[in-house]
Amino acid sequence: MDGSMVLPVIIFLPLVGAAAIALIAPSRSTVLKPVAVATSAATGALTLWLMAAFDKNDGDFQFTQLTEWIGSAGISWHVGVDGISLFLVVLTGVLFPLAIVACDPPHDAKAYYIWLLVLETGCLGVFLSLDLVLFFLFFEVVLIPMYFLIGSWGHENRKYAATKFFLFTMLGSALMLVGMLTLALLAKDYSDTGEITFNLIELANSAGELPTITARWIFLSFALAFAVKVPIFPVHTWLPDAHTEAPTAGSVILAGVMLKLGTYGLVRFGLYLFPEASRYFAPLLFTLGVIGILYGAVVATMQRDLKRLVAYSSVAHLGFIVLGIFSINTEGIEGGLLQMVNHGLSTGALFLLVGFIYERRHTRQISEMIGLQKAAPVLAAVFTVVMLSSVGLPGLNGFVGEFLILAGAFVAHRWWAVVAAAGVILAALYLLWAYQRVFHGTPDDANRSMPDLNWQEKLVMLPLVGLIVFLGVYPKPVIERMEPAVNALIEHMEDIEGFESPTVDDRPEGSFEDLRTLTDDYGSDEGEGH
């Protein structure tokens, strides 16, 4: 297929699927799910193809497509993928089919699948657009499907949660629009053409000319929007409600994909557009990140609602990601990006499992579950693996990202990293405690009869667990595709603003052989032991 057309196809294929579903007659409701699965799976396949076709040595945007859209306003249809966005796209492509397969809606299946597919289009659009307005459009429009998913198929308190989610996030992005316009209009004055444009790349290249203070204000307006989406402490409180009330698929997508819109935005539109400002505010942001790590963990420990607990664990994990991003060096940013994918997989899987339990027990209260491992060993085993990955056990995906983040952060801001590392302890605390309360112990009558995973659910968990292990053992394919883009980003920042990305200074390569040549006399002066 023609390279430049693949991205539009990826973005709009789910939408087409949604349209198709809309046209299905109510009488033939059995075909709804197959169609939804098929479209999302096809999209997933395309994203995988994209990953395969992606040139891993090229740090620049690939598969770009640029056509004028709203000329008078300088808005263009500009999409492209680079190492930074690639795996988020793949993650989206992978998670959606799984989420759709995993759980069936109790009612109004048609609307349900339509919204999910629309949501997928929105998320893909966010990750792929290289035009500020285009990005903003997708960034805003994802609220609608998620709002309806939570509102129509959520749990008891869904209206409150949905509205809170909608308004909170909208409030965040409200100011971003102003910031965006300010940026573009100011850039117009500096640009040689005098034409207004929202083209990300052009704006980024002229980023140096912005007055420092202005740039900082604009950055703040962006950062706020993303901070809410991430969410960064203290603007995180929409998240537990939304996650808890959302239907399982909703939570999976929310945690797996939508939170990444924020962190992705921070990289793509924070660091890239505002090198100086992002460095200026970095201390603020990674401090908040570290607070989030500890705070999220502490609050999670005390939750009585299993889903809520997982939700708060997201706060902690995303704190790590923010910390990595704003240590502004290769290790940190790559760790952050990697962790985005990892968190998507592990937390997505966790929400799926919690959802499975909910379908069986119709409760999320930890206190009402006990000894489930007896009743459902397979479920428990999968849960253990996912949990350990979320705890950051080496050999599973969670660890690699976390370590890279810590390495980057440590190089940049030692003490923050030291504190953040303590989050590792807490993570173990709340998850293991929850696991103990839910799965260990002797099951009572209510829990003894709980059925184990069925084949469909196993089918869903298999790829997730597989990826969790694979990325833990062999993350290289991901990292090596990210690296050129990340380096390009850092170089861009250094060019624009002439600062040195904090990093380890080069050391001579050496090994035991060299060591011997260096100290060939060692061991000779051994005084005899006796």
Partner: protein, 646 residues
């Protein structure tokens, strides 16, 4: 050059294969085939290790560090970490006894876990543990070691809470993992600091860089201290030792393999591995290690005196013995540390398996007060147990004597007070082990005696009226016998008499990079010290006999409650966690609900309230609307009048 050494990757590959196979078809294999498969894998792994060992011996004395890299693991920016194995004397020594003892314990487990519904799962975990342990040992960089480090932690978590239906086991597992995590934090930060300092995590590169460019003593000290935190967590040193006694909740083979022979020694291994950095750090750092070790050793020994659970006694003795090893490391006696590690692996595994056999025979009862006179009924067990007892008590020529003596010698060289306290610890060791042996195998059988039972009922939840203690199946006794043999003769691998019989010492030299400490005094002093040690241990034994056979002193006066309650360290920690700690957590949660989220909802209500207030202005009376318009008009006029010129 040598192909044999290149086989090093096989060593962990075997258990890993075991894990995968069992995961795939463990259920179908069922008992006992699953167990045999796992054991076979460990055997294979042991053989591979031997081959590598042979290959390594084939090398020149100072070219015995071979790095075999499989593939790049985390290549990100300046950080480049491989999945690579370091085959050098130290790692292979460790690998040898890990696989060897491991294989035996696997075999033992086949019998021990007979009839357990989680039979194959148990062996999955065991193999997984062996794999992680070998990664820990063989990894050629800190990160890979850390992988093994955390892996063994996770496995111990899984194995401790293996019988998860009992809450106690579950929380013991959690406690172990979380406490370990505290240590891991130290390890993690140490790695970060090492990465920042040396720009790499590979041992070779770190040491090379250290040798060539040196490093600030303060940095080195920081790294070591952080590593010490990690090591203390894993090797159950004060104050992170609290998890180990609880860990006895797991099946006994687990205690033997993980919490005696292998995992808990990882801390010692790590410190030994990083010896160049210890050498590069301030002088107080080794001393710190030393005193931590000593303190732990002494404290644990005193506690062991007062324990009544056979496994608890052994657990505290393990803690104490690990303390010895730390003292050795601290005093630069790395060889002694490893030596003691090896011998300890043998006799402590032996003791645990013996204990397991006893428990097995006593249908799961672990309270030594209800034992007694089992020697007749469990002949093999008791014989082998005695061997282990003599070994740990430090009675020559049993292995324990040699290693402990060497440590004492170095301690003496470092600091006389230290030596004295360590000696006391050794005596205590002899004492409480004697107590254990006597109460278990000799004296009148108390397991039929009603009145003791009645008294025991108070703390033991189940009294067992009619018991028929019986010897264990051969799968369990064979390992006992083999380990007993090793425990007796293992001393020969490092005899002090002359440098050329100081095999282990010479063998380990390349790994120690010339940082091995040297005794500052001549052979004469050593003889004296050795004799003192012997006397001490014999004294301990006889004291034990005096108390527990002849009843010269009322045991109750020795088994002081304060000791029985493990110096209350555990309680203090628990009280803190359950008290202030928990309260702080709850406060934070309330803060989140009431302040952070409260602010959000408050904004909402505020907006709503304002709306309602404004609503009052909409009276529905046309004249007040008109008034509004008029007021507006006046307002505009007022604005414009300010712009008018007069």
């Amino acid at each position: 050059m040598s192909t044999l050494v290149d086989l090093v990757w096989l060593i962990p590959a075997f258990p890993l294969a075991g894990v995968l196979i069992l995961m795939a078809m463990g259920r179908r294999l069922g008992e006992p085939r699953a167990g045999w498969l796992a054991t076979a894998m460990m055997g294979g792994s042991f053989i591979a290790t031997v081959l590598v060992f042979i290959g390594l011996v084939g090398h020149e004395g100072d070219e015995r560090e071979i790095v075999v890299t499989l593939f790049e693991w985390v290549p990100a920016g300046k950080l480049a970490v491989d999945i690579g194995f370091l085959a050098d004397p130290l790692s292979i020594t460790m690998a040898l006894f890990v696989t060897g003892v491991g294989a035996l314990i696997h075999l033992y487990s086949i019998g021990y876990m007979h009839g357990d519904e989680g039979f194959s799962k148990f062996f999955i975990y065991l193999n997984l543990f062996a794999f992680s342990m070998l990664m820990l040992v063989l990894g050629d960089n800190l990160l890979l070691t850390f992988l093994g480090w955390e892996g063994v932690g996770a496995c111990s978590y899984l194995l401790i809470s293996f019988w998860f239906t009992d809450e106690a086991n579950a929380s013991a597992g959690k406690k172990a993992f979380v406490t370990n995590r505290v240590g891991d934090w130290g390890f993690l930060v140490a790695m970060l600091l090492a990465f920042l300092t040396f720009g790499s995590l590979q041992y070779g590169e770190i040491f090379f860089d250290l040798e060539q460019n040196g490093v600030a003593a303060s940095t080195a000290s920081a790294i070591v201290v952080l590593l010490l935190v990690g090591a203390a967590g894993k090797s159950a040193q004060f104050p992170l030792h609290i998890w180990l006694p609880d860990a006895m909740a797991g099946p006994t083979p687990v205690s033997a393999l993980i919490h005696a022979a292998t995992m808990v020694t990882a801390g010692v291994y790590l410190l030994t591995r990083m010896n160049p950095i210890i050498a590069a750090s301030h002088d107080w750092v080794p001393d710190l290690i030393m005193w931590v070790g000593l303190g732990t050793a002494l404290m644990a020994a005193t506690i062991a005196v007062a324990q009544n659970d056979i496994k608890k006694v052994l657990a505290y003795s393990t803690v104490s013995q690990l303390g010895f090893m730390f003292v050795a490391v601290g005093s630069g006696a790395y060889v002694a540390a490893i030596f003691h590690m090896v011998t300890h692996a043998f006799f402590k595994a032996l003791l645990f398996l013996g204990a397991g056999s006893v428990i097995h025979g006593m249908d799961g009862d672990q309270d030594i007060r209800r034992y007694g006179g089992l020697a007749r009924l469990l002949p093999i067990t008791s014989l082998t147990f005695v061997a282990g007892w003599l070994a740990i008590a430090g009675v020559p020529p049993f292995s324990g004597f040699w290693s402990k003596d060497e440590i004492l010698a170095y301690a003496y060289g470092e600091n006389k007070v230290l030596w004295l306290l360590l000696l006391i610890t050794a005596i205590l060791t002899a004492f409480y082990m004697t107590r254990l042996v006597l109460m278990t195998f000799f004296g009148p059988p108390r397991w039929t005696d009603e009145e003791v039972e009645a008294e025991a009922d108070e703390e033991a939840e189940h009294a067992l009226p009619h018991r028929h203690p019986h010897e264990s199946p051969w799968t369990m006794t064979v390992p006992l016998v083999m380990l007993a043999g090793l425990a007796m003769v293992a001393g020969v691998i490092n005899l002090p008499f002359a440098s050329d019989v100081h095999f282990l010492g010479n063998w380990l030299k390349p790994s120690l990079l010339g940082n091995e400490g040297h005794l500052s005094f001549g052979g004469g002093t050593q003889w004296v010290l050795a004799i003192v040690a012997i006397v001490g241990s014999l004294g301990g034994v006889s004291a034990g006999a005096a108390v527990y056979i002849r009843r010269r002193i009322d045991p109750a006066r020795i088994e002081h409650p304060f000791l029985a309650r493990a110096w209350r360290v555990d309680e203090i920690v628990t009280n803190f966690m359950g008290g202030p700690g928990r309260r702080a957590f709850e406060r934070t949660t309330q803060f989140d609900e009431q302040v952070v989220d409260g602010a959000v909802n408050a904004t909402g209500t505020l907006v709503r309230r304002t709306g309602t207030k404004l609503r009052a202005s909409q009276t529905g009376l046309v004249r007040s609307y008109a008034l509004g318009i008029a007021v507006g008009a006046v307002a505009l006029l007022v604005w414009f009048i300010t712009r008018a010129g007069f």
